[in-house]
Each structure stands twice: as C-alpha cells, then as structure tokens.
C-alpha cells in the first residue's frame, strides 16, 4: 500500500509530518553525520536572535523524573552569523528548513522575519521560551503581545509563519486563536513547562539559571491535551510537540489533532529518534490500513 504522509502548512509542502524541535537538533549538521536528515519532513533551527547571546550559566541541564529541565537561555550567534555561516551549509538539505526566531521586542521579531524572508522554508516564532529575562514566554502569556508579534512578523515575510506557544497559561486555545487571527499559518504546541529543582545540600537551584523548562515524556499528557484543546478551536494546522518518544506517542498527537509533530528531547536519549518515529508512524498506518495521515488527524474527541 502506498501511504500518503505528505501535509501542508499554507503553501509549504512537507513530505512527511515529522519535524525536529527547536533547540534539540542544532542546525541539523551534526545529526546529519548520524543519519540522512533529508528524510525528515523538516528541521527547526535553534532559536535565532538579533544579537549573539551567550546563554545562561552552567549547569544548564538537570535530569527530572521522566524528563529534563533546561535553562540554555537561547545561546546562539545571532542572525547575521546564521545567514552568513550556517544557512549556506544547511540550505542544501533536501527538506524544509524552518528558522525559529526569538526577539526581545516586537520590533526585533519583525527584523528577524525580514532578514529570513526567502532564505528558509518557514519561520517559527518562539514566544514561549521560559529561560530568558526579556521577551520569550512573557509575549506568549499575553493576548495582546501575541497579536502584536504575530502581526509584525506576518507583515515582514511571505513565508509560512508558525507560532510556538507556551503551555504556561490558563487558556492556550485563546492564544492560538489570536495567533491565527493575526495571520499565523500554524501553531506549534508546546514549548517547555516552567519548573526547577533544588539541591538540598547546597540549598540552591540545581540550574545555573535558577528556573528552567521541563521537557520529555513527563509532559506528554499535558502537551497532548493542549493540542486537543487548540485543534478544536482553530482552522490552521497544529504542530504537536512535547514528550514524543516513539511512533505511538506521535500517533496520539495526530489523533488529538496535530497535523505535524516535532521530536524534541527524544533526540538526546536516541539521536535517531526522529527517523525511528517517522518509520514507526509509516508502519502503523500500513498495519492499520490507513492510506493518508490526514485520515487520523483529530479523530479523537469527547463523546
């Protein structure tokens, strides 16, 4: 049986719905040494900022129950470095390259979008990073800021605009709706959950940056529910993300309403995770006699 795994965001075609999550895959170059990443539906870069950012002090990683806390703090070399040094190397990947952007102001988001216009396949607008003092999650926790950022980005680029939402909020469906209304072509759900962990002997946070974001299997049931809540409420595609470790997790996200998924921390426990998940999804559809991934998107609902 020929399985149709393809899907679309706006006019952008994806050969399959498996992407890699921002900040967990670098720019694809290193993992491309392990497997041919062109087989994936797309990759999303580490979030890019206007200026180079050093990131947060160590330790930036601490293990949590069935997951991890990170407080990287958006370390990256800035947009110019990305355009000059990184982009030439990754442009040749035979898959969608989505640039994640993070600004400290609405204006910065606009400038980033403008610079990336025509250079990548799509833009993911990160308004949900819990690990920075300025910008980040505070935009995504506020309806009017969300609208301002999305509208600004929308005006500055003709690329598909994906808005990455924070789950640290009462009604994520409202922010998703606002994003859609402001011109987003898709939303990705979710970024990490705010948390931390204490070293009881040193009497301090285990993270150099004090608080961090929780990712991994621990958050899966929450992320899945967020996807379900949002998918019912908007018409643009939802990209599901949060604790996806295997094909079965991925299928859960599709059934809850995600049209695509992002594999995040799973890559740390298995660098082949995204490819393995892609294969597993395909195999599941074959076994269950499902001809197109679209048949199962959002199939689960309350009775």
């Amino acid at each position: 049986m020929k399985i149709d795994l393809s899907t679309k965001i706006g006019k952008l075609k994806f050969k399959n719905p498996v992407l890699t999550a921002s900040g967990t895959f670098g720019y694809g170059l290193l993992i491309n040494e392990i497997f041919d990443i062109s087989r994936l539906g797309g990759i999303i870069t580490k979030s890019i900022t206007i200026r180079s950012r050093p990131g947060n002090p160590a330790p930036r990683i601490v293990e949590a129950a069935c997951g991890m806390l990170n407080s990287i703090g958006l370390e990256n070399k800035g947009i110019e470095n990305f355009l000059d040094e990184v982009l030439p190397k990754i442009k040749s990947f035979n898959t969608n390259v989505i640039a994640s952007i993070a600004g400290e102001t609405v204006d910065e988001y606009g400038r980033l979008a403008e610079k990336l216009d025509r250079n990548v396949s799509a833009i993911e607008v990160n308004i949900s990073c819990p690990n920075v003092k300025k910008g980040g999650m505070s935009f995504g926790q506020d309806l009017s800021s969300t609208k301002k950022v999305v509208k600004k980005v929308r005006r500055k680029t003709s690329l598909p605009v994906i808005v990455k939402l924070t789950p640290n909020i009462t009604r994520i469906e409202d922010i998703a709706k606002a994003s859609e209304e402001s011109g987003a072509d898709a939303v990705s759900i979710v970024n990490t959950y705010e948390g931390f962990s204490i070293d009881i002997y040193r009497r301090n946070s285990k993270l150099g940056g004090f608080s961090g974001g929780l990712s991994g299997p621990a958050i899966k049931p929450l992320a899945l529910f967020a996807v379900w809540k949002v998918a019912k409420n908007i018409d643009v595609p939802v990209i599901g993300c949060g604790g996806i470790m295997n094909f079965s997790d991925a299928i859960e996200f599709f059934m809850a309403g995600a049209s695509l998924i992002e594999v995040g921390s799973a890559t740390f426990s298995d660098p082949n995770a995204s490819l393995r998940i892609l294969k597993g999804v395909k195999h599941f559809l074959e076994e269950e006699n499902i001809k197109s991934i679209k048949e199962i998107v959002g199939i689960v609902d309350e009775n």
């Binding site: 967990t24 670098g26 993992i31 330790p59 990683i61 293990e63 990170n70 990287i72 740390f268 660098p271």
Partner: protein
C-alpha cells in the same frame, strides 16, 4: 573523525575494582575499536524513561568490538549502570568529542585526580604502546585499589600523592606538580590533566605561569553528547562565546576555556 554510532552492546564483565568503582567491559558489535584517548561514550541506562538522559563515560580502553569504562557510583544513573550484570544490554553512543592530541616532541606529564584517571589511563596505555616516555602524577584522597592497579600497569612512571599520606607523598596532585616537574630530566613537557574542577584550575594556572602547555579534559552536565542541545557549554577564555564540552571538547587547551 570516527563515525558516531549507537551500539547495542552487551556487558561482558563487570568487576568491582574499588570501593564504589566498577570496571565494565562491553561487547560492541561492529565497533572498529578506533577512538582517541579523551573521547567518551553516552550510555543509555535502560528502556524506561527514568533515568531519562544518557550518562557520559570516558573510554578507558577499547579495541575492535570491545570497550572498557570505569564507573564510580555518585547517583542514581551511575548506580544503575554499575549494577549491570554479564549479558545485560546497553545502548552506547560514540565515540564522542575530541580527545588528547599528544605533542611528540615533549615529555608528557599526565595529572589525574581520582576518577579523572579514566581518559588518562587510555592516553598512558597508548604512550606505553608507542614506547614513549611519560610520567603520571596521580592524586587521590586515600590509597585505593585503583592506585594499586596503576602501580601494576605503569610502574615507576606513576608518582603517587594522597590527601592523607597513605600512599606516596601527602599532598594534592596540583601542589606536588611544580617540584615534580622540576625534578624531571626533560627540557620540554606538556601537561594532560583530568580531575576535579579545583585541581584543573590550579594546573592551568601553574602551566600558564611556567609557559608549559596544558590540556585538560572537562566534565559538564550533558543531555545530547553530540553538540545539539548546548547544555554543556563552557565560556571561551579571552574571546566572546561558548564552546561545547561534548563536541569541541572534552579536551581543551588550558588557555582556551574559562573554568
């Protein structure tokens, strides 16, 4: 660089070689046995999600399809690895990072503190095989079986120091280093160090003061081990920016990083 692969390996042997320290030998199918001293492997503990992350371990020795590591129990993950028995299976990713590159024209002085011996053991074995001259300054809290093992393997090349004087000089490795070097009959030496943070700092400072090149192997919390998460960054010295311990290191030149 050698191709990074995830080996589904089998424990061949697990021996308690010291209080809380295990020597684990594994069979890695298809592993070509090529790795540099200082490189490490990321070990997946089991199939469940708790513990979630892999744990980094230096290569102690390796050859075709074989790998040895030294595991000290310091927490849950290391304890679970240490409890693996013969025939138990483990995913092992590697070899990772950049190891030691030895300056052949100068005398190698290996400075190890405690478990910092793992990558230097590998280095020393290589030097021995290459019939190169080298010395080891090995510091530990108290005389251990691991030290005895070193004595057996590297003989006179090892200069022992212990915090409590139970073997060799009562000193720390970094304190003992200056006079040890002064007594060496070589004009040029290069230091290769691995051990606790404080020790590395002192060794670097000493080397800079004397204009002796120092290479250190660092440890940092790691998630991916391959350079994609930026969890293990260390500050560059002098220049702006960070380097990743897992990809740019774990071995750095002493004046390259701020520790």
């Amino acid at each position: 660089m050698n191709k990074i692969r995830d080996y589904y390996s089998t424990v061949v042997n697990n021996t308690l070689i010291d209080n809380n320290i295990y020597l684990i030998e594994m069979f890695l199918p298809e592993f070509d046995g090529k790795a540099e001293p200082g490189q490490f492997m990321m070990i997946k503990i089991d199939e469940t999600y708790d513990p979630f992350l892999r744990r980094p371990y230096s290569i102690l020795e390796c050859k075709k399809e074989r790998l040895k590591i030294l595991v000290k129990i310091v927490g849950k993950g290391s304890e679970m690895i240490a409890q693996k028995k013969k025939k138990d299976r483990l995913y092992v990713l590697g070899p990772l990072g950049v190891g030691f590159s030895v300056d052949k024209n100068s005398h190698s002085v290996l400075v190890a503190g405690g478990m910092g011996i793992a990558p230097l053991w590998f280095l020393a074995r290589g030097l021995m095989k290459g019939k190169k001259k080298f010395s080891i300054v090995y510091g530990e809290r108290t005389a251990s079986l691991l030290g005895k093992e070193m004595d057996k393997t590297f003989g006179e090349r090892v200069f022992f120091v212990t915090d409590d004087g139970s073997r060799g000089l009562k000193s720390t490795a970094s304190d003992a280093l200056p006079s040890f070097l002064d007594n060496l009959p070589y004009r040029e030496s290069t230091i290769y160090a691995c051990g606790p943070h404080g020790m590395l700092k002192e060794v670097i400072n000493f080397g800079m003061g004397r204009n002796i090149p120092v290479y250190v192997s660092l440890e940092e919390r790691m998630a991916c081990g391959i350079g994609v998460c930026l969890g293990c960054s260390v500050k560059r010295k002098g220049k702006y920016g960070f380097l990743t311990v897992c990809r740019d290191g774990p071995v750095f030149k002493g004046d390259e990083v701020e520790i």
